[in-house]
């Protein structure tokens, strides 16, 4: 058991410390770092989905005044390590997906670079491509493991027997489409080579991880790559490391001393910087006459790229959510001629829980039970995936508190029973879960600089989450001083290394390192340190790690209004109640949850990357045709927390709030749409076309 920090700054709704810089435009994002005479990169993308580049005619581009050079696979610097095919940009003429970089123009202005890129003529020896994910493919395969190291398949008890003899059965298939992360700030790199050192101003979620990978790929001593990323305009999982950054680094190598700027256009965001794989998910549930689950099966089919495997872990949440006598989960992949799928907010949980929580709603109806009560009835005592007790699990409290706040009680379960003017009205609920992840590889350094001030350094990055503020609060409580005595420095690999901002792990991983450094600092220097006193510590392993299963839980309630004439869906209100440990900064956490739930609303109603199989790339690659919800699409958000004193997760008692907001939202909305209309849409997004009868 861990002793939690005495909380003073933690738990306070401190305004975002970086807010003034952001609203006044003085917070510098990657592209905004100023240089004299930078060069600009504009890529040439393949317009075939598979084949060999046979010829590149860059003569017209090179002849254009202001063009510095055109990089192709014939003249690009060689990379030291091309084992990660996604990052092996311009190393040979092979085209693995449509939209791949096949050349890049470097020029004195962005306008010249983009015009010159349009003049580069590329010839291909095109091969037939294969980009369609279907359940009936005969070449689906089982990966060795799925993301985050989870086993591909699990089997608990005799599912077949239990399902065949179940009193109530459900067997349905759910689908989620390809979705693209699309942070507001596009992927951006400013690369500068000086005296053999590579410096990158980079829009990244993981400065250290990116720097180490770049060093390895390019063949540099890791100490010679530095990444600066104090402010990042969103990532949602897509700002790990993709070929765009390597391309900028290669181009900068060709013009040493000159910084090369490369920001993707919105259209370019739809190829090569990650996306959520489409999924096809078969769920089978069996229950006894009392509505207790006896059989649970979740079979996931997703896609990956032929060049690199990415196995979305969509069935993983089903391994822990509910009590069931038997359980089977499987993942199968189709390897296609497509860009590599990647992380997108709550990878695994977001698509997987759409399927499971839609099925739970359908099953509750089949059992004649209220969807809230049905879930509570199937609450497990331990985590079946590990056999461990939960460090804390408050799903039931979330469901009950959510039901109370939302006004769920007395709900008429009949579908299509409420209408106001021309709107069908319905309500729906779904549960959420996300694991507590502690990543290794973070160190924090604390220095007393006199005048009651402490400098706290860690190469963490704030991708819009509020990390600047939350880490300051943690440091203050860890040191037992005021937040205004902390000078936090993040977003630079010159600082002590930090793990990636992903998996809702930042506060747990970085905060634990800061806590440990503060403990060492106080042990060594007491409470009256001398100027220059310093301590550094790494994120310790969690001694409780093997003893407990650690997850955050939540419940999302949604009201849907569906226009009887048009099938248009509007969501006037949602309630989200979350049990996510101690909330470091309720204001920032609320923003995180609203963002997650809004993204879940987009997943439910709007987002879908349309691939034309004849061509192989995303056709609706802009915000006029790829819709995400904006202010007019969101209604009232009621966000609440179940207070938890979890002494097992980390010294802050926090579980992470970056992802759990999106997890249950799409299913809650789909369930509400069913309740409103009697139409069960099992393939997202729920568009008017699917509701018009």
């Amino acid at each position: 058991m861990t002793t939690l920090i005495e909380r003073r700054a933690i738990g306070a709704s401190i305004d975002r410390l970086d807010g003034p810089q952001k609203v006044t435009g003085t917070a510098r994002y990657a592209y905004e770092h100023h240089f004299d005479n930078p060069r600009y990169l504009f890529p040439v993308q393949s317009d075939v989905a598979r084949g060999w580049v046979t010829r590149i005619d860059a003569s017209a581009a090179v002849a254009l005044p202001g063009v510095v050079g055109v990089l192709t696979h014939e003249n690009a610097p060689r990379l030291a390590d091309t084992s990660d095919r996604e990052l092996a940009v311009l190393q040979d003429g092979w085209v693995a997906f449509r939209g791949q970089y096949v050349a890049a123009v470097v020029a004195e202005t962005l306008e010249i670079a983009s015009y010159a890129a349009s003049l580069v003529r590329v010839s291909y020896d095109e091969e037939p491509h294969d980009v369609e994910l279907r359940a009936d493919r005969d070449n689906l395969y089982a990966p060795a493991q799925v993301n985050a190291g989870y086993p591909t398949d699990t089997e608990q008890g005799d599912f077949d027997l239990a399902f065949s003899s179940a009193a109530v059965k459900l067997d349905e298939t759910y689908g989620t489409p390809m979705e693209h992360n699309n942070p507001m700030e596009p992927h951006t790199t400013v690369a500068l080579w000086e005296a053999g050192d590579l410096k990158l101003y980079e829009s990244t979620q993981g400065p250290n991880w990116a720097a180490e990978t770049i060093a390895q790929v390019i063949g540099l001593d890791p100490g010679r790559v530095r990444i600066v990323s104090p402010y990042v305009g969103g990532g949602f999982g897509s700002k790990t490391l993709h070929a765009n950054t390597i391309l900028a680094a290669l181009a900068a190598q060709a013009v040493p001393g000159s910084p090369v700027k490369f920001a993707l256009t919105r259209q370019q965001m739809f190829s090569g910087v990650g996306y959520r794989t489409p999924t096809i998910q078969r769920i089978r549930l069996g229950a006894d006459a009392d509505g207790r689950l006896t059989a649970t099966s979740h079979n996931v089919i997703a896609q990956t790229a032929k060049t690199k495997e990415f196995a979305e872990q969509a069935a993983v949440p089903t391994r822990t959510m509910y009590s069931t006598q038997s359980r089977r989960t499987t993942h199968r992949l189709a390897a296609l001629d497509v860009p590599v799928p990647s992380w997108m907010r709550a990878p695994g949980e977001a698509p997987g829980m759409f399927a499971l929580e839609s099925a739970m709603d359908e099953m509750a109806i089949k059992c004649g039970l209220d969807p809230v009560g049905f879930r509570i009835r199937n609450e497990p005592e331990i985590d079946a995936s590990t056999g461990l007790p939960y460090s804390s699990r408050n799903l039931v409290a979330c469901l009950r508190e959510g039901a109370r706040r939302f006004g769920w009680g007395g709900r008429d379960p009949r579908p299509r029973a409420r209408q106001q003017d021309r709107w069908h009205i319905g309500t729906g609920v779904a549960a959420s879960t996300f694991p507590v992840i502690r990543l290794p590889g973070s160190k924090a350094r604390i220095t007393y600089v006199g005048d009651s001030r402490y400098v706290v350094e860690i190469a963490a990055t704030d991708i819009g989450t509020g990390a600047w503020t939350a880490l300051t609060q943690i440091a203050a409580d860890a040191l037992g001083c005021g937040a205004d005595q902390i000078d936090l420095r993040i977003g630079d690999t010159a600082l002590p290394e930090a793990s990636v901002a992903g998996g809702s792990s930042g506060i747990t991983s970085w905060g634990s390192a800061i806590f440990e450094a503060a403990r060492v600092f106080r042990t060594r220097n007491g409470h009256s340190p001398s100027e220059g006193d310093q301590a550094e510590a790494a994120t310790p392993d969690n001694p409780e790690g093997g003893k407990y299963a650690m997850y955050a839980f939540g419940a999302c309630f949604a009201e849907a209004r569906v226009d009887a004439d048009t099938g248009e869906v509007r969501i006037p209100r949602m309630t989200g109640v979350f049990a996510a440990g101690k909330i470091i900064n309720p204001k920032a956490a609320r923003s995180q949850i609203i963002g997650g739930m809004t993204m879940g609303l987009g997943m439910a109603l709007h987002e879908e990357s349309l691939v034309d199989a004849r061509f192989g790339h995303v056709q609706n690659h802009d915000f006029a045709s790829y819709h995400i919800p904006a202010s007019a699409d969101t209604g009232q958000f009621d966000i609440a927390w179940i207070q938890e004193d979890d002494t097992h997760v980390n010294p802050m008692g926090s579980k992470g709030v970056g992802e759990i907001g999106i997890v249950g939202t799409a299913a809650a909305i789909a369930n509400a749409v069913y309740h409103a209309t009697g139409i069960r849409v099992r393939d997202l997004p729920i568009t008017p076309a699917k509701l018009l009868r």
Binding site: D565, F615, P629
Partner: protein, 328 residues
Amino acid sequence: MKPFRYDRAADIAGAVATLAGEPDGMFLAGGTNLVDLMKLDVMTPDVLVDVRCLTSAEIEDLPDGGLRIGAAVTNSELAADRKIRSSYPVLSQAVLAGASGQLRNLATTGGNLLQRTRCVYFYDTTTPCNKREPGTGCSALEGCNKDHAIFGASRQCVATHPSDMAVAMTALDAVVRVQGPSGARAIPITELYRLPNQEPERDTTLDHAELITAVDLPPPGFSSNSRYRKARERASYAFALVSVAAAVQVRDGVVRDVRIALGGVAHKPWRAVKAEEALRGWPAAEESFRAAAEAELEGAAPLRDNAYKVPLAANLMTRTLLDLSGQR
């Protein structure tokens, strides 16, 4: 983006004369659509002749009781105009249903009429598109076509016209005034637009260097009893799945006269002539409205992904007419 020249003229005649000598040039007004398309190399004019300050930015009374909307009147100003709002509410509603506040502040009346389609293949220079590159083929015909036409399409093009404003103007029988190298002329808006047929690269019947100078609205009549209804995939900034602009005159429970135009269903704002004919003289009741809508939709030819537009258009027409005749 391809380099281009930028030119200005002292007056309309000068602008027309300048562009007449520039076969690959274009007029520039608000630029909210054209400049985007140039950034994507979808349109590559070699010269832009700026007409933003040349045409009228005023809405004036006409002697017959109608209104003349200067081509440079912004969408925001048009939607907010008191006379438009009271006498032609369908037009104000249509303009406000389109784009965003920022775009409406910049976009002009003339430019709005000449928006290009939002077909995803038109916007993607790596795929065939007859409208962008004549003779290359229509990718949408057997591709992603959920947003495409159900009326009047050809094998060459199944795109739709994206404007909301033009749909309302079509229902209002607006007249578009243009000035060109061979003088001025007035074109009924129903004749401004054309179906794709064998020349989908041509959206309108305008000749090169003809400049829209104004749009005339006929005297109000029953257009004060009008409404625009747009079905869209989200509440904020989205192009119409289907929209309806309608005006109806009901006396003694009978439809005396009616105007209906549909958006999002064809290469041009679609005047629902068959529905109008089916309604005149019939009771203003749900059965006649639905029958009229269905009469119109008998001619629909949906594609792979857009069959939903048929019931959607029928429902929208029926509901809008019911609302306009004071029924729910």
